[in-house]
Symmetry: none
Subunit: 252 residues, 2 copies
């Protein structure tokens, strides 16, 4: 990453995006936790975790923002690097926790049989943790070859998860009440689509995209993808939980 | 913005206004969230979001205040600029989130049919986000021409929203219980009137109002307009929700 090529405008835009990410994630957590009492008890664990995912992300956006501010000195309209690091790896620490949890949200809100809930949580959550753990050595690697090797390794659990979301959950989704089937499908596709951004961006340094504009695009893009996969996804999970609670109350 | 022309008195007055804004917004959030349990379940999402809007604003007033303090050095009764930036753009980051949300508050407290709630939220919320996103490039532009172009573009969604609030909601307001009709109208007009401040102030730099007095007037004015459109507006939403809850309990 070539931090020295960042302009004042790019610095500010990225800083504002990090602050926006922090505000969205923290507000989303409060929203989910307040709305938790409005869903049936069976869905409260899903909504609690939904708020945890955005809370963990809010903490990491604060860390990333502080690290970004520390890496530069902006004075009288000019910018210089301070010599301090911009710690990109906070994102991996975040994902290692939040990505398994957000897949578990989706499984919990479906309220499958207990055995199925446990096995799907272990398999999908485990694959997600493995995917992030395999991405990290590539992110901090000094050579393009190592970066590419870990990209390939990380894509194996990635493809497994996408396959499970698109094909593996089909039977379970069919058994959901009709008024939420479309929403659950939508939530699964939202994960898949927002995730496409990450492996593509990971390859940027390999094709020489390391300048100020590329760094800005990557950081802002990650922020948008994170908001989609965590806050917007969380709203879908909440709406699903509210509709299912309503449906079950009418039936009872 | 000509920060160097700020006097010590103007610096202090603006600083106190930011601190006032932070205190009002944070207190308003706590008030709304504590009162949340006193309205019927159907209105709790509206009141939760009302508190989120002021909480997000409180966070941004903290950021703006810290940025303001960092931009100056006040010592022995004299003031100098420190070289650090005053990041005005935090306001846009705030509005991008809070303006769509406060329109959604108003729609939610009306408790329209589900389809109408969703379509009105998407159209009004989307227009609000577009309005802010189009204001931002004008705000950070270096030439008056660019500033003015984005002002014009931003006014299109602005006028659409004002039209919807004043004319488009008429039918839905007519169907509200009689004891809140006036309040809902009042809330819609409060938004429209407090919003008039923003596009006018946006044009100040174009007519040469960039000195210390103008900066102070703009920042204090924004703070008052924000308090009207978020905290005072939120109190109206809470009162509407409480009256409707009461009304529905009597009927049931």
């Amino acid at each position: 990453m070539d931090l020295a090529s960042i302009t004042v405008g790019q610095y500010n835009f990225t800083q504002n995006a990090f602050s926006f990410g922090l505000a969205v994630m923290a507000a989303a957590s409060l929203f989910f936790w307040f709305m938790r009492s409005e869903v049936a008890p069976a869905y409260r664990m899903a909504i609690t975790i939904t708020g945890l995912v955005t809370a963990i992300a809010a903490y990491h956006y604060l860390q990333i923002m502080l690290s970004w501010q520390g890496a530069f000195e902006v004075s009288n309209g000019t910018i210089e690097t301070s010599g301090a690091q911009f710690n990109q790896a906070y994102r991996y620490v975040d994902w290692l926790l939040t990505v398994p949890l957000l897949l578990i949200e989706l499984i919990l809100v479906m309220k499958l049989a207990r055995g199925e809930t446990i096995s799907k949580s272990i398999w999908l959550g485990g694959a997600a943790a493995l995917m992030i753990a395999l991405g990290y050595p590539g992110e901090i690697a000094e050579t393009g070859g190592t970066r590419f090797t870990f990209w390939i390794l990380s894509m194996i659990p990635f493809i497994y998860i996408v396959y499970q979301l698109v094909v593996g959950l089909k039977d379970s989704i069919r058994k959901q009440p009709e008024n939420v089937r479309g929403l659950i499908n939508g939530a699964a596709y939202l994960v898949v689509i927002s995730w496409l951004f990450y492996p593509i961006v990971f390859l940027f340094p390999l094709v020489g995209l390391t300048g100020g504009a590329a760094i800005t695009a990557v950081e802002v893009g990650y922020t948008i993808a994170d908001i989609m996969a965590k806050a917007v996804f969380g709203i879908l999970i909440l709406v699903i939980a509210m509709r299912k609670s309503e449906h079950e109350q009418v039936k009872a």
